[in-house]
Symmetry: C2
Subunit: 314 residues, 2 copies
Amino acid sequence: MKNNNILFNIGVVERETGIGKDTLRVWERRYGFPLPVRCEGEDRLYPENQVEQLRLIKRLLDSGMRPARVVGLGVVELNALLQDAPENEPVISARLQEFIRLVKTHQTVALRLAFNRAIFQQGLNEFLSKTISPLNQLIGACWLRGEIRIFEEHLYSEQLALVLNLAIAAIHDPNGTPRILLTTLPGEEHALGLLMSKATMSLAGANCVMLGVQTPVNEIVLAAKAHQSDVVTLSFSSAMPPAQVKAGIAQLRYALPQTVALWVGGSGVARQRKADDGVQLMGPFSDLDNAISLWREAVSYPCVDLAALERCRS
Amino acid sequence: MKNNNILFNIGVVERETGIGKDTLRVWERRYGFPLPVRCEGEDRLYPENQVEQLRLIKRLLDSGMRPARVVGLGVVELNALLQDAPENEPVISARLQEFIRLVKTHQTVALRLAFNRAIFQQGLNEFLSKTISPLNQLIGACWLRGEIRIFEEHLYSEQLALVLNLAIAAIHDPNGTPRILLTTLPGEEHALGLLMSKATMSLAGANCVMLGVQTPVNEIVLAAKAHQSDVVTLSFSSAMPPAQVKAGIAQLRYALPQTVALWVGGSGVARQRKADDGVQLMGPFSDLDNAISLWREAVSYPCVDLAALERCRS
DNA sequence: TGTCAAGTTTGTCTAGGACAAAATGAATGA
DNA sequence: TCATTCATTTTGTCCTAGACAAACTTGACA
């Protein structure tokens, strides 16, 4: 296992770790790590254990640490840091514990069953806010600590998506209002947040259309027009660089007609200080319900400024 | 619309077009296109119309053309080339025509209904091979010609995925054999081919577990072990560079135990000449059925070499 | 406690050169 | 006529080392 001296070139490392080529080279210059071997053509060839270290580093960076503190540390130090990254870990109820157990033991069918049972016990809204939201956080924390592997997270997402899609299909109303388009921008491939939003808003009676992930900006504009959407909803995960989030939102807001509202949510926007004009930041899922209510009121009294109404309420 | 002089830096262009930074710079040097304006720090800033041209170029490259022929051509010439790229367009039946119509008019609910109706009319296997396979080709061709936008393709994929997932849920057998793990490698984000494979193999009585897309190689190995998989199935779309496909397959084959079979399919592997040892290339969907039958026979007579058995049959 | 300015860190961008893998076309053999 | 092999061109990716602006940290001040 240790002497598995497979070598990866810089392009593969970029794809496997999510760290850009330029960044890998500049880290080598600045911190002396990673230090790949060179092969004939002077090309960098990264051994497997360094790639593993880079994966750990990426986790720490995504959880808010800065490169100077972590780049170059050994596997043991990195793991130690990952262990005590307390974050804002949610209270672990017995129910959550049971979900975690099912994920760790790869019981996909039982997991789906447990999801469905919880939905009908708690109701969809409470299921999302009281079970899935903290569960996502918990799974994120476990993943950080290395207790849950990527493939186990994939299994979890897959099963949850199945269950949510089924529920949504049952409550979808083609004539609902407002008409909402859901998608993510290029670079953001996490669809789960979007799906949870879709469930919440469908339950509130909206007509939701999911466009999938990674839709280019101009295509979103065309889709909103074609579908006569009232609202476009974007989701950003915390893996997305804040700068890209900000730029992407601004670009879409500029390209979209003023009459179409832009709602953005997910852990990737929680780090944004302020919303641009004409953009609404969504925190917890209840925000979506509120936003829909506000939108309906604004439609009843078209001359009222939406932002003003919101200020007035708070 | 034309004077919308928005400017994009090279990173954004890479994400929006899928053409790498290095490639964009070397094209500029070699072909004199794209020729971005420069801003203070000498950074490239690409105007919107050049990005649009790059999108058209990318389509032509993906459909098999070479850069020297297309890079630098104007929008009109590019569109002309895109029009008469005959490819191997399937016979357009009335049924296919109707599906295309529904996609072009964004009737998501009607589309889902039509899918479901076709499944119960044709049976799942025939639905996949006689309707969806040619439909995918047709939609690809339409997209090439610009008759179908990306967002419309997204809508199509989304609805088809919903329908297939529902069908799979109904026929899934947790005790089926062989135990099959489905996923894609990092870089491949197209899940539809995988889902179609899952449907076919689930129908044949296999126990399929979907891992989602973009699973790192070592995670696939761990997942296969955890799930005691007999087979790992990968899918590659034609958008994937052949070199990456080959390297990825080889890497996974090397890391996976010999006892686990590796089946690869999708339009991205159709261009591969020969399969490596221990790797089986899948063409049409009937290949999957055959492979499952062969696997079961091989298990009944464990000393028989699988590859030899296949040669013997043909 | 909150806000602003100065200082530091960090990702991304630039240049032109280099090379190996892939595609092409010519020449060969079955 | 069709498949193989070899030489040639095309083409994506990788290289070095420097630069800079945006984001973050720190410390001073109200």
